[in-house]
Amino acid sequence: MTAARVNIADHAAPGGPALAVRGLTRSFGAVRALRGVDFSLDSGEVLAVFGPNGAGKTTLLRIVAGLLRPEQGEVIVGAEPLARGDARHRRLIGMISHHSLLYDGLTARENLEFYGRLYGVGGTRAAALRALAAVGLEERATSLVATMSRGMIQRLAIARALLHEPEIVLLDEPFTGLDQQAAATLRGLLGRLRDDRRTVVLVTHNLDEGLELATHVAILVAGRFVECGPKRGDIASYRARYAQATSAGA
């Protein structure tokens, strides 16, 4: 899919894409991680990006999050295109990665309060407690992260990412290493985000995860989308297309 060329006026119109990226490229030295990626999502849409290891999934997500600078192309968030590094851009985005981004030496609540202050969330303590309740960790508010199980830490990481109620949620291999309960929490959460009309981008190498919740699907191979669009067909047909794309690209 190639996003139609759009100008700022289109974006200002209600119903314009909530998140669009155009012509993203990025290299690390001689290694070209992304070679021109475009997509455009409205609020309430969930894009699942599937790709093998090294396809550029994490690079794509980090560029959208504002953690990496693209060589070419741009990321457009919300009604107006926000410059990378613009604090308002970062305020609209929440990211869940397979790293927890938490401090082991702080308690669950202290971690959330710390991030709440960085995001300028009003009523930080109440917001932290609400976020803990949303992932079923209110009992563990005063436990150090170092004493929590992996599943609990994952749920806390989810609470951390959603604390400031982002419009756009990015997930990098979120199901990796999750226990049953955390995976269930995450699936429930993805459904809730979709119902709340948030925009979600999920990257993973595993087709079994996320496809059922996705409204849009992309397959990323060697830095390019080999397909990208509204979900069509069932998991079996995606499995066949994915296998074909990855074997052709490898």
């Binding site: 953690l67 300028g120 951390r160």
Partner: protein
């Protein structure tokens, strides 16, 4: 969005809380300082070199080694669970991030110095109280410059191979002006020399602090991944 100073305060208090909880880095820096002071006492010929001549140098060598130990820890803390990504994802200013890290380092190094100073006075039998005021000013001037540069260097060193070795290699040349100045002023203070003799050194220390604080704030964002 929170202001740079609010971000700095949030990050510094988080770092200090973590440090207070674990205390490993702090206690080892402190023990290290005491050990260096004790060993340096024997690294001289007591019949040839009097303590007054060598003590200011020992004090500053000790402070800088202890400081280097503390700096290594500053960004290592953010590597655990990739917490640095969390800081960079937040709409918090990069200047605030730098200032917060520098502030926490300053408190860390300053606390070690505050405990080491009386120990130094006892070990080397130096009359601390008559010169305490001016001495604290010099220690503050030299430590601020050291921490300003050191915070920036540790942000880079932590992402290199041989991080623990890289920091001193990058950092020690930058210690030369503040240490030279601080040792000169310290020995003149203990020697009871007139204030006019140390003015030039205090100017140098102040100039160094201003230039490098401004510069480090300007270039800090380039030490972050992009």
């Amino acid at each position: 969005m929170p202001s740079a100073f609010r971000v700095a305060w949030t990050i510094a208090s988080k770092d200090l809380l973590l440090e207070f909880r674990s205390r490993t880095a702090f206690l080892s820096s402190l023990i290290f300082t005491a050990l260096v002071l004790a060993i340096f006492n024997f690294a001289r010929d007591p019949t040839a070199v009097s303590t007054v001549d060598i003590a200011p140098g020992i004090l500053w060598i000790t402070f800088s080694f202890a400081g280097l130990l503390g700096l290594n820890r500053a960004f290592a803390l953010e590597r655990e669970n990739r917490a640095l990504d969390g800081l960079l994802l937040a709409p918090a200013s990069r200047t605030g991030l730098y200032l917060g890290k520098a502030l926490a380092n300053l408190v860390f190094v300053g606390t070690v110095e505050a405990i080491a100073l009386p120990l130094f006075a006892i070990f080397f039998n130096m009359p601390l109280l008559p010169v305490l005021g001016p001495l604290v000013v010099v220690i503050a001037l030299a430590t601020i410059g050291f921490v300003a540069v050191g915070t920036l260097m540790s942000a880079m060193a932590v992402n290199t191979r041989f991080a623990e070795l890289m920091l001193p290699v990058l950092m020690l040349p930058f210690l030369m002006p503040p240490i030279t100045g601080a040792v000169q002023v310290t020995s003149k203070l203990f020697g009871g020399r007139p204030f006019s003799e140390v003015v030039a050194w205090l100017k140098l220390l102040t100039g160094y602090d201003i230039v490098f604080i401004v510069l480090c704030i300007l270039v800090f964002e380039y030490t972050l991944d992009e």
